[in-house]
């Protein structure tokens, strides 16, 4: 199992090794020690390997991930798992701004809290936050699911498209065009599956409320269709 000590090895050596993996490689487990807040740790992986990062990371950890499982045993700086395509990213601590931004697929699990703009412009990613999230989360979210076991900050789901938001605690305020919607059996089933995948225990899907787009903004109005 390759181990990269980032206090002794350049970051580029780690990312080059991850990008150079051949199909069917026997190196499927990587360990990273002493990340010391480095930016861009384990970005752009396109192989189904697992990477365990022991410590806290800076900007854009596991960005563009396509198929790998990256676990951060610490906290993550801004833009963790930004534009993830597929795979799983787990942050054992907290995540800073815009976690999972623009993500197209895969699962991002944050076991602590996430700061502002969590899931901004999400496009298919599933994000499960064990704690709470900050303001302007899921802004312009297009598809995917954002599940929050704690509370949400101001302006949740502003200018939302089709992303589905589930919050168990309080929501400080809803953004423009975001409304509470009824929880149907299919939503409860989906939520139960996401909670299980994200390792959330002792929490029932029925404890959440669902939020989504009212589809009343300018861009949803048929008379404006030719403006796009």
């Amino acid at each position: 199992m390759p181990v990269f000590d980032l206090s002794a090895t350049p970051l580029r050596a780690l990312n080059s090794a991850l990008h150079g993996l051949e199909q069917g490689t026997n190196d499927t487990r990587f360990e990273v020690v002493n990340p010391r807040g480095h930016h861009a740790v384990a970005v752009g992986i396109d192989s189904p390997v697992s990477v365990e990062v022991h410590g806290s990371v800076g900007y854009y950890c596991a960005g563009m991930n396509d198929g790998a499982t990256v676990t951060v045993h610490g906290s993550a700086g801004p833009g963790v798992a930004e534009n993830m395509m597929s795979g799983t990213v787990i942050v054992e601590g907290d995540a800073s701004q815009y976690a999972g931004a623009t993500g197209r697929g895969g699962l991002l699990v944050i076991k602590g809290n996430a700061a502002s703009r969590c899931g901004i412009s999400m496009k298919g990613i599933d994000i499960v936050v064990h704690g709470s999230i900050g303001h302007m989360s899921a802004f312009m979210g297009q598809s995917g699911h954002l599940v929050v076991c704690g509370d949400a900050g101001e302006a949740l789901g502003d200018s939302l498209y089709e992303a589905k938001l589930f919050v168990r605690g309080s929501v400080k305020s809803l953004g423009a065009d975001c409304i509470e919607k009824p929880m149907k059996p299919k939503h409860l089933e989906k939520l139960a599956r996401l909670l299980e995948k994200a390792g959330v225990t002792g929490v029932q899907p029925e404890e959440f409320r669902r939020y989504g787009s009212a589809r009343k903004l300018y861009n949803f109005h048929i008379d404006n269709a030719d403006a796009y």
Partner: protein, 301 residues
């Protein structure tokens, strides 16, 4: 961009290491701000003594014989040269006299900051070079703040570097940009404040000084800033005994804090904090938007 660091020591045994710890934090933030760098160090005040940090573009000519000329003009002083800066120590009750006297004796000298405990050093250049020019590593103190600058709103000059000091023992570093600084500067000028630069961050510093002069404490002045300043900001502010942090409500500019029994630390990024003692055991968190944080040696004691 820009990088900010700050360190407030709770454990007195760490005070000899303040300059060393802050230097490492500042140098780690070089890639957020390679234009210029600055640092404010709060040392232990000596009773009855005031300190004035001055800067000159031609230190050789300006600092030569300054001690003797100040004494001859009736103001006994000790001048300690540090590269382009010098720290002048005088009797505290004569602090009101020094500005006019310096204007007469050395018109090209600029005052960087004054008070009982603060010393401020800032220059154009890479943070590592700035730190070594002034010998910051050898400096001790109770708290300090630093800044690495990537200029957006005004020129890359020594005076445009942070920290900005607009009142006794007060200073501010800023990451962001203010949009109502011209209007606010005009208001502050009418109320008697003076400005050295066109820089937006100097306006924020002067605003806090004016608010504190009207009787507010640092926490109250920072709360007022949320209503009166428009734009993006993460501020770290130092006073003689305290250290405060404020982020604007949108909070785009990054900020991480760490606290242990021995210190409170601020960094634009976690990277800046990794060399601090026992950082693995610290409580590390992101300061909330529009929330005032401040620590005070006197209130804590």
């Amino acid at each position: 961009m820009c990088g900010i660091v700050g360190l407030f020591l709770k454990d007195k045994s760490l005070t000899p290491q303040l300059g060393d710890l802050l230097s490492d934090m500042l140098i780690t933030m070089t890639d957020r701000g390679p234009d210029s760098a600055g640092i404010a160090i709060y040392g232990t005040p000596r009773p009855g003594i005031a300190k004035i940090t001055v800067q000159s573009a031609r230190p050789g000519a300006d600092f030569a014989n300054l001690t003797a000329e100040l004494s001859a003009a009736g103001l006994p002083a000790t001048v300690t040269e540090k590269n382009t800066h010098a720290v002048i120590e005088i009797a505290a009750d004569r602090r009101g006299d020094i500005r006019a006297l310096l204007e007469k004796l050395r018109p090209s000298i600029r005052i960087m900051g004054a008070g009982e405990s603060v010393e401020i050093f800032k220059e154009v250049g890479l943070p590592g070079d700035v730190v070594s020019r002034f010998g910051v590593r050898a400096m001790g103190g109770t708290h300090g703040i630093g800044h690495t600058r990537m200029a957006t709103e005004s020129a890359v000059t020594t005076l445009g570097a942070h920290p900005f000091s607009t009142g006794p023992d007060q200073c501010l570093v800023h990451n962001g940009s203010l949009s109502n600084h011209n209007n606010l500067r005009r208001k502050l000028v009418r109320s008697g404040m003076t400005f050295e630069t066109d820089n937006d961050s100097e306006v924020a510093a002067a605003y806090l000084t004016a608010e504190m002069a009207s009787g507010k404490d640092l926490g109250e002045a920072l709360t007022g800033a949320l209503d009166d300043l428009d734009g993006f900001f993460t501020f770290v502010v130092g006073t003689r005994t305290g250290f405060g942090v404020l982020r604007d409500p949108i909070a785009c500019k990054p900020a991480v804090m760490a606290e242990t029994d021995r210190y409170v630390a601020f960094g634009s990024e976690y990277r800046a904090l990794v060399n601090l003692p026992d950082i693995e055991a610290a409580r590390v968190w992101e300061p909330e938007p529009a929330t005032v944080y401040f620590w005070d040696h006197e209130k804590a004691a």
